[in-house]
Assembly symmetry: C2
Homo-oligomer: 556 residues x 2
């Protein structure tokens, strides 16, 4: 059996009421989903508004490689360790998407002794949030086509429909379709397509909304299409946002679960980190900050994508001030950035590590440019050598002036991350000097340029003609003050996924820009971005089944 | 405010644990979904297998008219009344579909003082069962296209794909589509389309399965496509049934809720009553029969469609023996069958009622032909006259020898259906003489003919050429012993929805037949059958919203 699964199965789950009590949530504020999951009541959370906020700690990572970094694992391990040393801590994570579970990827609930539980429910339907988000999105899409069908009073141009339907499934056959075929009773044929639910703007809205009322207002602002004379048509024009909010009213309440060690964790929302901003919901993070002294949270992909969006989009919109930043690295992944082939990763090679260190170096410098104190968490693997760890610690100290703290939470749980926790507490003692990378009133193209040059190490941004004119339209329509959301490969600072390490002086081409008026950002698409994954030749689904004891086999 | 909603809001809900206790379900067998809904543990239910079974009472109705009959309301009212007179009773209902809530129709949780609660959750996502069914169906569809994409080892003919994707949404634009467009990375273009979730074979399988193992075996038998040489390709060939079962393992556990009067109700599963068999899950019905002395359940549409399928498909497959049948009629609806226009329904007209009585008469005779004792429940409306009720009672007595019992459960709750409950108890005192309409070994075409001539009063069945040859294929492949599922308009005994009353001597054309090998029936399509509804000109969704107190407005 997969060791993560074996450890998860061997864990004794506490009743969710006990976890809630530990987090300071009374029984009457819980909506249980089975014995080990509960939603936390939204009205009760609103009653905490005046409480002082805890300190927010962001866990991010180097550019991802096939060697793995362990960002979620470190987030969970750090949270457990903080609780262990007597700091009241809430862990805030994204909800996993269902579709990829049946493809290649395992779950997204951590690993080893640093997991959130119950692993299987969280990875499958959980509390139905993503199904609700899908239903809200698809209701909006259905109302748009229905509007056109019944006379098209708003003069929607069926060639300029922005909203796509969604499913929480890896299904490449739905990427590009023609809908409305079959004759007059079925409407007007038009080009259409499906995204995976996590790629939808409804998901981004859900995760950035302050509360139910803010969510409804944002949903109403979603631009679903343009008219023939290119005016925007919004969800409010279709009178859809009320019903969408009704579909989402339970989902917007954050989900409480536990780690293997019984720490409370809010697992809520999960937008893509390319086409959207890639962090858990603002509602959950704000709840955590009111309930605990420390909130540990993570952002998707490497720090150039995930942390940048966390800081420039989520923190900006929600008025959050992070107190410290943990950058997760592994010896193995740094060696891959230094040119080591995957097959050779188990051999000690401090020089390759030193070559790959440039990737970590830039991410750390980037995080510091936001005014954040940084610590490097070195997620330990059994194949790592002493010499490699020594070299990494020296490089961090000498070239960056930061500490590299070895962590063994995968093997040891919170006990393996106590050093990291103590370092994090020390870093958060001084007041945060957090600042965003750019001001609201910078022109959109300049915002893209600043991200590319300061964070990606690029020479410049090249905005293609049609994208440039769309940018002008967006600014003319009054959306120029929004932050930008860069949709770029996560594997490199450049747009070439093969360029590992720390490429410099490259160009970042912006092929297309999209307005996400509800989410409140402008997406800059740099290279191919996949919004509907496919299944591999042998999907994981083929091996997933229930055994004779009714236990799930083959998941994760 | 809608009176049903006002009554539902004014009701005091008991904690679901109390309802469970009343039903004899211990706390440890409950998986709560909030405070007023729980799933009943499947393993615990299996431990009841050896208990004696209670008596099964079917509530069905005359052919539906726009005047309304109140079948669900009567089912709830009768259940409450039986509990009131000291008979331990479980109510078993279908789960409502989400999509139609945003179109025209209100919820499907009863009305007045005869409702199951919490109305809003049950009508919206409830416990996520339909989302899980949709995900299982769509995983199967994705695995099929993925198989073709990666080399098509099974030689699937993309022109002969039987499985359609589903959404729980009214969305006519998806009825007929082309998928797989956009180039080689997206697969092979083919004609495709979506049904509403309740129309899927996965839903029918879910509702007919005895348990998890039976469900997995049935899912594996679903024929998803044919090869180029017309051999069937099943879900098992795609190795999909294990993962589908994992997606459905929680959903298959029945949902316990309460009526306004605190009677326990299992609300579980909800297949269409045209393309599928239209009753709640076998798992729930069997659970009810083990837990209670009486189970009151309903079947979709009028008795010619819903009850026929309940008796010939569900009871046959699950080995159920109903003890009595309640046929619901209203004075108003009978007058519509007698030719009264909708606008004139509030005027007393016993002669119109007598003309329309032929509809009730045939349904009652049909139910008796199954060996079932029958009582007519006359669901009272304020506009009914004494003279009309008197005439109806006389007609029932003189022409049918059955009792017509006036019921006022809408206004009075269970107290308004005590007479009906006492009559039902009396009817169930003698042992049931239930028999199905046809034996398993009758040829499929003869089964269709028997239903048409005996139940619909038709002269004959005309099976079109292509349907006849498909029937031969199906019988040659060994599926000849399956029952048939007639997909016909619910508004008439004929295939003309305008032909009210009791038309006779007509032809029933069978345009197409479809094998549902997993569900275990052969569908005979007689006329236009809609498997994906559309939204009306002004969808209900436009008026659905949350008010300032967070209460849902505009639903139902």
């Amino acid at each position: 059996m997969n060791p993560d699964l074996a450890i998860a199965r061997a864990a004794t789950l506490r009743p969710i009421g006990e976890i809630a009590e530990r987090a300071g949530i009374p029984d009457e504020a819980l909506h249980p989903y089975g014995k080990h999951i509960a939603k936390v009541d939204g009205s009760w959370l609103r009653s905490l508004e005046d409480r002082p906020r805890g300190k927010l700690i962001l866990v991010t990572a180097i550019s991802p490689t096939p060697a793995g970094e362990g960002k979620t694992t470190t987030t969970v391990g750090l949270g457990d360790a903080l609780n262990r040393i007597g700091r009241k801590t809430m862990i805030c994570l994204r909800e996993p998407s269902l579709g990829p579970c049946f493809g290649q990827k395992g779950g997204a609930t951590g690993g080893g002794h640093a997991q959130v539980l119950p692993m299987e429910q969280i990875n499958l339907h959980f509390t139905g949030d993503f199904h609700a988000i899908g239903a809200a999105n698809n209701l909006l899409a259905a109302m748009l086509d229905n509007h056109v069908y019944w006379g098209n009073r708003l003069d929607v141009d069926p060639r300029r429909v922005a909203i796509r339907r969604v499913l929480d499934m890896n299904d490449r056959a739905l990427r590009s379709t023609v809908a409305g075929l079959g004759g007059p009773a079925n409407g007007f044929p038009r080009e259409d397509g499906f995204d995976i639910t996590v790629a939808s703007e409804v998901m981004a809205v859900f995760c950035l909304a302050r509360d139910l009322a803010d969510m409804e207002a944002r949903l109403g602002r979603i631009v679903v299409a343009q008219t023939r004379d290119k005016r925007p048509v919004t969800a409010d024009d279709l009178k859809a946002s009320g019903a969408m909010s009704v579909l989402l009213k339970d989902a917007i309440q954050p989900n409480l679960v536990q780690t293997i060690e019984g720490s409370p964790a809010l697992v809520h929302g999960g937008p893509f980190a390319n086409i959207a901003h890639g962090c858990n919901s603002v509602v959950a993070t704000q709840a955590g900050l009111r309930l605990a002294d420390y909130v540990v949270t993570e952002a998707g992909f490497g720090a150039d994508l995930g942390a940048e969006k966390f800081l420039d989009i989520k923190c900006r919109q929600a008025g959050l001030t992070p107190s410290a930043c943990v950058v997760v690295a592994t010896v193995r992944a740094l060696k891959m950035h230094g040119g080591t082939a995957r097959a050779d990763l188990s051999r000690g090679d401090a020089d390759a590590l030193e070559r790959g260190f440039v990737n970590l170096e830039r991410h750390v410098a980037n995080m510091r440019s936001y005014g954040l104190p940084v610590v490097v968490a070195v997620n330990h693997f059994v194949t790592d050598t002493e010499a490699e760890h020594r070299r990494l610690a020296e490089l961090c100290r000498d070239r960056l002036g930061v500490e590299a703290v070895p962590c063994r939470h995968w093997a040891e749980g919170g006990a393996g991350a106590v050093d990291l926790a103590e370092r994090v507490v020390a870093l958060t003692e001084k007041p945060s000097e957090f600042r965003t990378l750019y001001p609201d009133d910078m022109p959109l193209a300049d915002k893209m340029r600043r991200i590319a040059t300061r964070i990606y190490g690029a020479e410049t941004v090249v905005i293609e003609g049609s994208a440039a004119s769309r940018l002008k339209e967006i600014e003319a329509a009054g959306y120029g003050r929004l932050p930008v959301c860069m949709a770029k490969t996560q594997y490199s600072f450049s747009t070439d996924p093969q360029a590992m390490g720390a490429p410099s002086g490259h160009e970042i081409p912006v092929r297309e820009v999209r307005l996400a008026a509800g989410a409140g950002f402008v997406v800059a698409i740099c290279g191919q971005i996949m919004t509907m994954p496919g299944l591999p030749r042998v999907p994981a689904a083929e091996g997933i089944h229930l055994d004779e004891d009714g236990l799930i086999q083959g998941l994760s």
